[in-house]
């Protein structure tokens, strides 16, 4: 498993549109992607699951990537998140 942290830049948090972007990108990965914020976790390929975490702007989120292509997937995701989320 590979994991990395990121900070949500959008002041409104991970609401519908940015969550949608993230999910689209996660769907492209073969690996299983899990987002963690404290106790809460969500499958990054499920929109409502991610939105239900109620992630706010400025919060630090851990992404865990697990699967055969985890290293490559984690890199792609990380780059995407840094540019878009």
């Amino acid at each position: 498993m590979v994991s990395f942290e990121f900070t949500v830049q959008d002041p409104n948090g991970l609401h519908a549109r940015p969550a949608g972007l993230l999910i689209k990108e996660a769907m492209k990965c073969k690996s299983k992607v899990t987002l963690k914020k404290g106790e809460k976790t969500a499958d990054a390929k499920r929109l409502f699951n991610v939105m239900a975490m109620g992630i706010k702007g400025g919060e630090i989120i851990t992404a865990e990537v697990e699967g055969e292509t985890e290293t490559k997937d984690a890199e792609t995701l990380k780059a995407f998140i840094e540019d878009n989320i």
């Binding site: 519908a16 390929k45 499920r46 409502f48 109620g54």
Partner: protein, 538 residues
């Protein structure tokens, strides 16, 4: 006549008849089914069709309001395909052996509840998105087509609430304004109304019976819905509407243009603000910076001295909102005329000439230093100018600079990052005018406060109504003073602005530009008329 209040989503005036928008009655019947696979297949077909409709809405929104407004339908399509959402619907159909419409309705309720129970207002508003896609899906399952608002004349559309898809489906040429009972300013409908430039009010508690078909005025500026207005009110609003339209035309014409005369002289056109609440107007009117941020409100609205942190937050917000444009903040400018309890200021016979502004700051440096620390810290986030009021001597300026430097050095020593900061003084006393030559050597900029300068120069109390007839803001003494200040400043490469009321006086704009004024700072609504005047000047 009946006047109701609401919350403005998009300002503007609309006059017309109200049409009540009725939702399809969302009664979903529950009935048992025997053939589960057929029902699931029916659901699948409906999902495909709904997705197709959403795609069409996306394209419609894209061409009408652009990508930022259309995005929501893209998200709606993703919601519709969300695995948890689909699992829930499928499970209810298979588990309870009930019809798809009912399964969708139950699922929608559950998901909407999850969002409405969240703390964050923004997430709360997402419950409406779930209801919107679910209602569409149910309507497809029922075999109904989306209701179309057809009316011959443009109307003020009143509704309990409007979903994003309902909003975008409406024929904009037929809508003068939106009025809803519910909804939040974060709802997509609100966002769409803003993008479409349609006056919109939310949270208006209107009576359906009384409203439908009635003549009405939507005042998006004051947040009012006036039903059956009397003749006088109607006339007033017709005039106001014309003025608004003129303003909108100006906005379209002048926004984004450079403020430069025909002969190529560039004037900085900045805005005066009293707090963060003024920022939307500043941005909307395309101000090129902030020339006077009156920091008093930070002190006036508190029961105790605002902390460094509280001040820093506000300055940072303003600086970030202006995104690199210059933000000039005037340090505390209060006196006995603006009483603040915790300052313990003694009552004075002549507060205009009393213990005030920089005099308090230099006498109580701890208050001054707190503000300066907050300002220097905020400078890391953009471009800041600090301006000191009520200056009468070079000595004061030297003392101020010493204190500012010690604050700056202190922060630096603590490893706190600081941006570059311009320092300036207000020229609002005759003394400052007379020594402007020497003051210019000390600072980066001057800002002429014409209101106080006029009062002190003409020896006329601004509050004394009996003197109104001799109070002449165009008095040659004032104009000569401004000229003197500009000339003295330019000798030392100090730039000069005007932040008093005279700055917005269009009959003087040409005079000021010819004198060599570098900047004018005015209320947001004067920015564009001034730009137009300057652009048309030689």
């Amino acid at each position: 006549m009946n006047s109701l209040t609401g919350k403005t989503v998009f300002a503007g005036i609309a006059i017309g008849r109200i049409k009540l928008h009725k939702k399809e009655t969302g009664v979903v019947r529950r009935y048992k089914i025997s053939d589960i696979p057929t029902e699931l297949k029916r659901l699948e077909t409906a999902l495909d069709k709904t997705d197709g409709e959403l795609e069409a809405l996306y394209n419609k929104a894209l061409s009408e309001v652009g990508e930022s407004g259309a995005d929501i339908f893209d998200v709606h399509r993703m919601m519709l395909k969300d695995q948890d959402y689909l699992d829930s619907i499928n499970n209810i159909i298979s588990g309870e052996k009930v019809n798809a419409e009912f399964a969708v309705a139950v699922t929608a309720d559950n998901f909407a509840k999850m969002f409405s129970s969240m703390e964050d207002e923004y997430f709360k508003a997402r419950a409406a998105d779930i209801k919107d896609i679910s209602e569409r899906l149910i309507s497809v399952l029922k075999g109904g087509a989306g209701a179309d608002e057809a009316s011959s004349e443009p109307v003020i559309l009143a509704a309990e609430d409007l979903s994003p898809s309902e909003t975008v489906q409406l024929d904009k040429s037929k809508i003068l304004a939106f009025v809803t009972k519910y909804g939040s300013s974060n709802s997509h409908t609100a966002i769409l109304a803003r993008t479409m430039n349609i006056p919109a009010l939310i949270g208006v508690d209107f009576d359906e019976e009384q409203t439908d078909g009635a003549q009405a005025i939507v005042d998006g500026i004051k947040g009012k819905l006036i039903i059956d207005p009397d003749g006088e009110t109607l006339e007033k609003y017709k005039k106001l509407k014309q003025e608004e339209e003129e303003k909108a035309r100006l906005l379209l014409e002048m926004k984004g243009k450079e403020t430069v005369t025909k002969s190529g002289r560039k004037i900085r056109l900045y805005s005066n603000i009293g707090g963060t609440g003024d920022l939307p107007a500043v941005l909307e009117n395309d101000a090129e910076g902030i020339g006077l941020f009156r920091s008093e409100f930070l002190y006036l609205e508190k029961d105790n001295y605002p902390t460094e942190e509280e001040q820093f937050d506000v300055y940072k917000t303003v600086v970030q909102a202006m995104a690199g444009k210059l933000v000039i903040i005037r340090t505390l400018d209060i006196g006995a005329d603006k009483q603040i309890g915790y300052f313990d200021l003694e009552k004075e016979d002549n507060p205009a000439m009393g213990y005030r502004a920089i005099r308090i700051c230099l006498d109580r440096p701890e208050i001054f230093k707190t503000q300066l620390r907050a300002l220097y810290r905020a400078s890391a986030y953009g471009n800041i100018g600090i301006m000191f009021p009520m200056i009468i001597s070079v000595d004061e300026v030297k003392k101020i600079k010493e204190i500012a430097e010690s604050v700056r050095a202190g922060l630096k020593a603590d490893g706190i990052s600081i941006g570059s900061v311009e320092l300036g003084v207000m020229i609002e006393t005759p003394a400052a005018v007379m020594i402007s030559d020497d003051l210019a050597k000390e600072v980066d900029f001057f800002s002429i406060g014409t209101n106080d300068l006029t009062q002190y120069t003409l020896a006329i109390d601004r509050q004394n109504r009996r003197l109104d007839n001799i109070y002449d803001p165009h008095h040659p003494a004032i104009l000569k003073m401004i000229k003197t200040v500009v000339d003295n400043a330019h000798k030392h490469d100090t730039w000069v602005g005007i932040c008093g009321e005279l700055g917005a006086d269009l009959s003087l704009t040409e005079t000021f530009v010819k004198m060599g004024i570098d900047e004018l700072s005015v209320s947001p609504n004067f920015i564009l008329p001034l730009r137009k005047t300057i652009i048309n000047m030689q």
